[in-house]
């Protein structure tokens, strides 16, 4: 069976959920061979084997942390040469897309980004994507070279499928260009204890109607009662009420959770572009004419300062 390279996103050996989802998709088109780089790479093996990786290629070097993107491209290219895979799958993070794009040029292949599904096809893997603020669904394939596909979080279930997961050291020689962009300082983001926005099963977002940074505690309270991530509309971010890293929409993050709750968000096309593929959509807004209500499975026309705290209390009491 053909081998499929899966690029592993991990933090010091802890594999992030989108990579485990990639393994589910990779198994549909071949045998997953995982590539884990950097500090703690070898520690990823158990989780990757548990989810179907037949082999785990690992390599650690200071270059991965000290320089931007290119060392990882060099390593993925080395893995590509070693394995000659039928496809290369990479998580659709900002960095993942950059790594995949550069690899595609090097190996003379086409690239599909932000796939929401992959299935086997007669002429290679067929990828599903959303277009025009998720108002269209397209099916595409790579027509030249080895398909390089980046996949959005929440595109497939995480499934246990135990495999050998044999760890092998990957031989990597860095290119001259690997040290071109130096990372001179790194400030880790303080953890909020909440799930990562793009990976979360539930996202609770606030917009202009939240009317102030201090009021976001109401949104956070609801999120915490549901174990959800917090999102914000561009209006709320531009007003300085919430960090840009939490922005949902065309110029922020695109999310696709099981449940999306929009509070005080009117639902301009730019916001819809980032959340329209959510499975269940709920909105709370004072304005009955707000376009967000066109998208909802359930909407409450009302004051979020009344509705959200009542909802939070009700959830807490139901959860006991």
């Amino acid at each position: 069976m053909a081998e499929v390279l899966v690029y592993v996103d991990h933090v010091d050996g802890a594999v992030r959920k989108p990579t485990l989802e990639l393994l589910t998709l990779a198994r549909r088109i071949g045998e997953p061979v995982a590539v884990a780089l950097g500090s703690g790479a070898e520690n990823t093996a158990a989780a990757l084997a548990e989810h179907g990786a037949v082999k785990v290629l690992t390599h650690d070097a200071a270059e991965y942390a000290d320089y931007l993107v290119v060392p990882k491209v060099d390593a993925l290219q080395a893995a590509y040469k070693a394995v000659s895979p039928a496809a290369v799958l990479v998580p659709s993070s900002a960095e993942g897309k950059e790594i995949a794009a550069r690899l595609a040029v090097r190996i003379g292949s086409g690239i599909i980004t932000d796939a929401t599904d992959i299935e086997a096809g007669d002429e290679g893997p067929v990828a599903t994507q959303s277009a025009f603020a998720a108002s269209f669904t397209t099916k595409s394939r790579v027509s030249k070279g080895t398909p390089v596909i980046t996949v959005k979080p929440n595109s497939a279930p995480v499934e246990a499928a135990p495999a050998a997961g044999a760890v092998e050291a990957l031989a990597v020689s860095f290119s001259e260009k690997a040290t071109g962009t130096k990372v001179t300082a790194r400030t880790p983001r303080e953890s909020t204890g909440r799930p990562e926005l793009t990976e979360a099963a539930i996202v609770v977002s606030g917009g202009r109607g939240v009317n102030g940074a201090e009021n976001f505690s109401i949104i956070e309270g609801l999120a915490d009662s549901l174990g959800a991530a917090v999102g914000a509309s561009r209006a709320a971010v531009d007003a300085g009420w919430y960090p840009h890293t939490n922005q949902v929409g065309q110029t922020g993050k695109s999310v696709s959770p099981q449940l999306y709750i929009a509070s005080g968000i009117s639902g301009a096309i730019q916001h819809r572009a980032g959340m329209q593929t959510s499975k269940t959509i709920v909105a709370i807004n004072k304005d009955a004419e707000a376009p967000i209500f066109d998208l909802v499975d359930y909407g409450v026309v009302g004051d979020l300062f009344e509705v959200v705290p009542q909802l939070t209390e009700e959830i807490k009491s139901r959860k006991g």
Partner: protein, 261 residues
């Protein structure tokens, strides 16, 4: 020494219009007005600010696109860019991201550059891979997704705010930079700027000028193929209730019914 800045921009269909696909599954540009991709305005703005700080700088704005794409160039020129290059060729219709990066890289090399600045992504395709592709093709450092950028003594520095960390980056010129919408609000063109833009030079190049063959680009030459595009069915109308004092509880009931609680 003059700092040569090339800003790559894209002419995109207005997101507030009714965007759809043409019969050949490329973006239908006839039925929707186009405009300069909003995220590219931030690239133009940062180019202008970097040029202001430099002793001597020249900003060239570059696009690949149909005849109408000149509008995007005019907008950038009216903001303050010095000159423009329009790569236009019938054979470019349907070019994908890999092909576009090839055309842009050839044009950037022909124009001459010390610094390339792009927006973080286009507002239509939204993939955000062209800056990395350009860095790969040009063989220069990528300093991408910056929310803060500066250039001094032949070195570009910037801040990249990622999900898990905020990083300070540094690279020697020449380099490719991309900026986010956090880099600083883009200026509106002044009346004077709009009038001045009409007199600024816009060069037109075709594939021959860039020594590219038609089969390397366009729909036929694309590295990817779209097999189908289907409009998402309109969502079935959801339940909408007016809060009469129990709205939060009613919503909780709905969420419980959906097994979210």
């Amino acid at each position: 020494m003059s700092l040569r800045i090339v800003v790559t921009v894209k002419y995109v269909p207005d997101a507030t219009g009714d965007r759809h696909f043409a019969d050949d599954l490329t973006v239908d540009r006839d039925d929707v007005d186009g405009l300069l991709s909003e995220l590219d305005e931030y690239a133009v703005e940062q180019a202008l600010q970097i040029a202001d700080e430099a002793d001597d700088a020249e900003i060239t704005v570059l696009t690949v696109g149909p005849e109408d794409a000149k509008d995007a160039l005019r907008k950038a020129l009216s903001m303050g860019a010095d000159k423009a290059i329009h790569v236009e060729d019938d054979d470019l219709h349907g070019t994908d991201a890999i092909g576009t990066s090839l055309v842009l890289a050839k044009a950037i090399e022909k124009a001459g550059y010390d610094l390339v600045i792009s927006g973080m992504a286009s507002t239509d395709g939204t993939a955000g891979i062209v800056p990395a592709l350009l860095a790969e093709r040009l063989g220069v450092p990528q300093v991408t997704l910056l929310s803060e950028v500066s250039v001094e003594d032949g070195v570009v520095k910037g801040r990249r705010d990622g999900d898990s960390a905020s990083e300070q980056l540094e690279a020697s010129l020449p380099a490719v930079v991309s900026v986010t919408d956090q880099s600083g609000e883009a200026r509106y063109p002044s009346f004077k700027g709009i009038m001045a833009a009409k007199k600024k030079p816009v060069e037109s190049w075709d594939l021959e000028d860039l020594e590219l063959d038609a089969d390397e680009v366009g729909l036929e030459g694309a590295w990817t193929k779209v097999d189908s595009a289907t409009e998402r069915p309109a969502r079935t109308a959801g339940t909408i209730v007016k809060d009469e004092g129990e709205g939060g509880k009613q919503l909780a009931e709905f969420l419980a019914g959906q097994k979210f609680i």
